[in-house]
């Protein structure tokens, strides 16, 4: 019976499943974080106002062009193929053997970065133009405006989309088994290769994947609510609309 087999497989192989799930989670957490950072940095660079002339304009145009090429290329090719190209290509082209784990983090990061760049771009567009103008009007430069005013709002706006990307990453790390990353799918295949119970083994993997993605979803919802902040505020001091004060410049005139 299937259920008996599920229990047997679990009791015999739980360390392997757990290690696989741990690896999957680790790669997707680190990959998503680095990817999000890449996306934010590209977002800042993409929105730098274009200088009218000179070397700066040319440099910025070249950088923007390269970044666009990166985004389009990694969004336009399957991650499983990228994994093969990068892992075997790095050994062939540069003669250095990337260890599998580093390769896995690298692939997930740059892939996520390409998607996140677009998500961040959408997030920046959605911030009201008045926020940029107000920041500029008090003398902030582009970088200060981004760090102190715009990006905190962008991060809040893109949190749902980032969570989506996170969930996709947990599932898509399965393709990294092609380069021998010992994540959950790879471990499950090893287990099922030994016992020939494919349905039961992959059923366990299925449940484990779902537990991970659903936990992440719940955690991110909680984070979203937390970032909303309290809906109340407390007043300081006595009566409202008390305008006169010894240091008040308008008061000096009245004297």
């Amino acid at each position: 019976m299937s259920l008996d087999w599920v229990i047997t497989i679990l009791t015999d192989n739980w360390p392997m499943f757990l290690r696989g799930a741990g690896m999957t989670l680790w790669i997707s957490v680190v990959g998503t974080l680095i990817g999000a950072a890449i996306g934010l940095i590209i977002g800042i660079i993409h929105t730098i106002p274009m200088p009218e002339r000179g070397m700066k304009k040319i440099t910025l145009k070249i950088i923007n062009g390269l970044l666009s090429a990166y985004i389009e290329f990694f969004r336009g090719t399957p991650m499983i193929v990228q994994a093969m190209v990068i892992f075997y290509g790095s050994a062939m082209a540069f003669g250095f053997d990337m260890d599998v784990f580093t390769a896995a983090i690298f692939i997930v990061s740059i892939n996520t970065g390409a998607y996140m760049a677009e998500i961040v771009r959408g997030g920046i567009i959605s911030v009201d133009k008045g926020q940029f103008e107000a920041a500029q009007a008090i003398g902030m430069n582009h970088f200060q405006t981004m760090i102190n005013v715009v990006l905190p709002q962008v991060i809040r706006n893109i949190l749902p989309a980032t969570g989506n990307q996170f969930v996709i990453n947990i599932k898509d790390t399965a393709v990294l088994s092609v380069i021998g990353v010992t994540e959950l799918f790879f471990q499950t295949r090893t287990v099922s290769g030994n016992n020939f119970r494919y349905f039961e083994s992959f059923f366990i993997a299925c449940i484990l994947y779902f537990i991970m993605t659903y936990t992440i979803t719940l955690l991110l919802r909680r984070l979203e609510r937390k970032m909303e902040g309290p809906s109340n505020y407390s007043m300081i001091g006595g009566l409202p609309m008390q305008v006169v004060n010894p240091e008040d410049p308008s008061h000096k005139i009245k004297e």
């Binding site: 008090i138 003398g139 300081i236």
Partner: protein
């Protein structure tokens, strides 16, 4: 009287549409100037050109004797000297009331946080919003938002305050509280340049009123002259329509 801002032959076009045509204009230290005119006359664009939110197409802007459109001029440092109040308030949504007034001082002027907070509270007090330091922008009414926005601009201790139709987006009952704050500021000797539709307010607080129409300054002078004995036909027509 020394000129704080002097504008020479300023022009601004959006594509083929010429919004400002050869504007010559200046603001003296301590002066309160109100710019009036119908919608689309270019008065907001003039204000936005002065602090370079719009890049002028031609002409010069001279601030304390320096041409700020020159190649080497630091426009960020220049902007800290001009306080800007927007029609739509534009409070920073990710900061509470206090931080709205502090962030510019700390990040741009490199003031210490404690010092910046003291300054912020002083000016929040001036606008009567010092009790709301913990509130977020979304939790305030329009009039309160605008008063915080004024405090934010004042916290940078600018030489000139620019107001871009500060009461146009407010409910009628909230206009009064903002105008009261602005009247107090005008009396304190602050240099102010105000684009407004509030004629009564302009009549009361302005040292000089500038009437703009179709991208040119038609007439300027003391409020008594502009409102009681306008010299130009276009000014008379505009006032007849708005004052009635």
């Amino acid at each position: 009287m020394e000129k704080v801002i002097e504008i020479q032959h300023l022009s601004k076009s959006f594509g083929t549409h010429e919004v400002l045509k050869d504007i010559d204009f200046s603001v003296q230290k301590g002066e309160v100037v109100c710019v009036i005119g119908s919608s689309g006359s270019g008065k907001s664009t003039l204000l936005r050109c002065i602090n370079l939110l719009e890049k002028p197409s031609g002409g010069k802007i001279i601030y304390n004797g320096e041409d700020i459109l020159g190649d080497r001029h630091d426009i960020h440092a220049y902007r800290t000297k001009l306080g800007m109040v927007f029609q739509q308030f534009n409070l920073f949504n990710n900061h509470n009331v206090l931080n709205n007034c502090v962030v510019g001082q700390v990040k741009v002027m490199k003031r210490r946080k404690e010092e910046a907070e003291k300054v912020a509270i002083k000016y929040l007090n001036v606008v009567g919003m010092d009790q709301y330091v913990n509130a977020k922008a979304q939790q305030l009414s329009g009039g309160q938002k605008q008063r915080v926005a004024i405090a934010r601009a004042l916290s940078m201790e600018p030489d000139v305050m620019l107001f871009d139709e500060p009461t146009s987006a407010l409910d009628p009952e909230m206009v009064g509280e903002v105008l009261k704050v602005m009247k107090d500021l005008a009396k304190s000797g602050l240099t102010m340049l105000i684009v407004t539709h509030e004629m009564e307010f302009a009549k009361e607080v302005a040292d000089r009123v500038v009437f703009m129409d179709k991208g040119v300054i038609v007439e300027e002078g003391p409020p008594e002259q502009i409102f009681n004995q306008p010299q130009k036909e276009r000014t008379r027509e505009f006032l007849k329509r708005t004052l009635r």
